[in-house]
């Protein structure tokens, strides 16, 4: 990373750390949402951008992670810091199962994407029938009082959630940066470019693809746990919905699949613009459901058509940030 990039990163870090002190609670909630999608997008990016496997069913891991931790808390009072391990274990098992089925049976490309959708949809309908987890009526965790600060159970003010998400996103970035420069990074990129050629160089492509899937699902599980304790209500219809899966990929696709900062930038740009649009329309007296989504669709369309590598590479070049991954 060159000097300029380092300085910019430091400035951004300072700004992010200081945000809760200066921002309204609304801005803070938007910032938390951006970080959430930046994190989830980064997790998805490991599978797609690094290993080249298109998953359109990542809501599966968000949902299972969320329900696992929430269920334990709701029924047994087990806090999220313990529940997270069950969440990760379940999602890793699911991811490994999907990966195994797909890779062993040679399912890739569009068929793999459809497979992931099928699993997510199957689970969505399935959870509607699990009464123990609230069924279609939803699972509700008791919302914290404003003044209460119980970090062990993640009951606290919005600032707590903000810093938590910030830490998670920073950790994800660090992890991905490390992975990219490691053997895993090189092998994943090789597999993504040309799997057969990669095999001829001694790469056990099955094993490395599985690793990407497992890491991706584990990371997304954590996002699910956060989701559960931040929003406090879970409905299968919402959390497993294919729209959730699409929201997760919008950030990386717009920012730049396979890059390090793409998902973060994409999530930020998308959320901010969407919010601006909502505000402008609300001010003009227009409150129609679906406007925000149409906007997402248009942005996605424009980016896919004219900026196939996402906006991050162009931005990085303009800012003179040197060779970035």
């Amino acid at each position: 990373m060159n000097r300029r990039a380092g300085t910019l990163l430091a400035l951004v870090a300072v700004a992010l750390l200081a945000l809760p002190a200066v921002a309204s609670s609304y801005i803070l909630s938007v910032a938390t949402l951006i970080l959430f999608f930046a994190y989830a997008g980064q997790a998805w990016n490991v599978m797609m951008g690094f290993a080249g496997q298109l998953s359109l069913g990542h809501s599966l891991y968000v949902g299972v992670g969320a329900y696992a931790a929430a269920g334990l808390f709701f029924h047994y009072g087990i806090g999220p810091w313990a529940g997270i391990w069950l969440a990760i274990a379940l999602c890793v098992a699911l991811g490994a199962a999907i990966g195994f089925l797909a890779f062993r049976f040679g399912i890739s490309g569009v068929y793999f994407a459809l497979l992931t959708i099928a699993f997510a949809e199957f689970t969505r309908i399935g959870f509607d029938h699990i009464a123990w987890l609230g069924g279609p009526g939803g699972l509700f965790i008791k919302v914290a009082q404003r003044e209460q600060f119980d970090f062990a159970n993640l009951r606290g003010p919005p600032a707590m959630f903000y810093y938590l998400m910030l830490a998670l996103t920073a950790a994800a970035l660090a992890l991905c940066a490390w992975l990219l420069r490691s053997r895993a990074g090189y092998y994943w990129q090789a597999i993504r470019e040309d799997e057969q050629a990669a095999q001829a160089l001694g790469i056990n492509t099955f094993r490395w693809k599985m690793l990407a899937v497992v890491i991706s699902s584990a990371m997304t599980a954590v996002a699910g746990v956060f989701f559960a304790f931040y929003y406090n209500t879970l409905f299968p219809e919402q959390i497993f919905n294919i729209s959730r899966s699409i929201e997760i990929i919008l950030g990386p696709v717009i920012g730049g699949v396979g890059t390090l900062f793409g998902p973060v930038l994409g999530a930020a740009v998308l959320t901010v613009l969407a919010d601006v649009i909502s505000e402008v329309l609300a001010a003009a007296g227009v409150e129609i459901p679906g406007v925000k989504q149409v906007f997402y669709g248009l942005v996605l369309l424009v980016v896919v058509m004219f900026l196939p590598h996402g906006i991050w590479p162009t931005v990085a070049k303009k800012l003179g940030l040197g060779r970035q991954d």
């Binding site: 420069r181 490691s182 053997r183 090189y186 092998y187 990129q189 090789a190 993504r192 470019e193 040309d194 057969q196 050629a197 990669a198 095999q199 001829a200 160089l201 001694g202 790469i203 056990n204 492509t205």
Partner: protein, 241 residues
């Protein structure tokens, strides 16, 4: 015991017999050429040695160990490197990164792989272009990259699939010189499929000729090119020596 022993190997694709009862040896440190008209079964044989698919019958032994039926990555781990007939660089990666991927096979970490990769690029005359994306290379350079990448896996046996195709005579001679040098210095064994006779005659110490999936001649280059069966399959029955 030869380094590579191909014993009575056959392969059919849905009724089409591509390779029938092919046997040959490649001794350690030797350079052997596999020639024959198009459709003779050369690349099919290569693919079986490299693990792309298993033979229907027969055995393939490498350093005494059976390797037929192994996956391509296992074959590479055993010590066989290969190039592809139509080059397959990792287009989105830099030249150096391409070779690092290969070098990681034997290296303990990325740093060591980088050093190995740099040295090999030097050897193949690509050092100046290390930072370029592989997609920006000309065909001859891509061929060199393909070879560099395979060499980075430190193979004992290198399978070269028509690596000279499309190269000008001077470029071809340069490649020949590189292989000669590596063979002499490191004892690398080479099995090459070639149509460019200039390269075959300059490099190969022994030649195996395939036609319609069968071995029709084998021996020293001088003998093989005068063998009437070989001439017939290349030039037709009317040919005279």
């Amino acid at each position: 015991m030869a380094l590579l022993e191909v014993r009575d190997v056959s392969k059919a694709f849905r009724g089409l017999r591509a390779v029938t009862g092919v046997s040959f040896d490649v001794g350690e440190g030797a350079i052997v050429g596999l020639i024959g008209p198009n459709g003779a079964g050369k690349t099919t044989t290569f693919n079986m040695v490299a693990g792309a698919f298993a033979p229907d019958s027969g055995e393939i032994r490498f350093a005494g160990r059976r390797i037929d039926g192994l996956r391509p990555d296992q074959v590479c781990a055993a010590g066989i490197g290969r190039t592809f007939q139509i080059v397959r660089p990792f287009a989105g990666l830099s030249v150096l990164d391409n070779v690092i991927v290969g070098a990681l096979e034997r290296a303990t970490g990325v740093a060591e792989a980088r050093a190995t990769a740099a040295a090999i690029l030097e050897q193949l005359g690509l050092a100046a272009k290390r930072a370029l994306p592989a997609s920006a290379l000309t065909l001859p350079d891509r061929k060199r990259l393909e070879v560099a990448r395979a060499l980075a896996t430190r193979p004992r046996l290198l399978l070269l699939d028509e690596v000279m195709a499309g190269l000008r005579p001077t470029e071809c001679d340069q490649m020949v010189a590189v292989f000669r040098e590596i063979n002499r210095r490191d004892g690398l064994t080479v099995l090459l499929i070639e149509h460019v006779m200039r390269a075959v005659m300059a490099l190969a110490q022994g030649i195996v000729v395939l036609h319609h999936g069968e071995v029709i001649a084998r021996g020293a280059p001088g003998e093989v090119v005068r063998d009437p069966a070989v001439l017939e399959c290349y030039l037709g029955e009317e040919a005279q020596v």
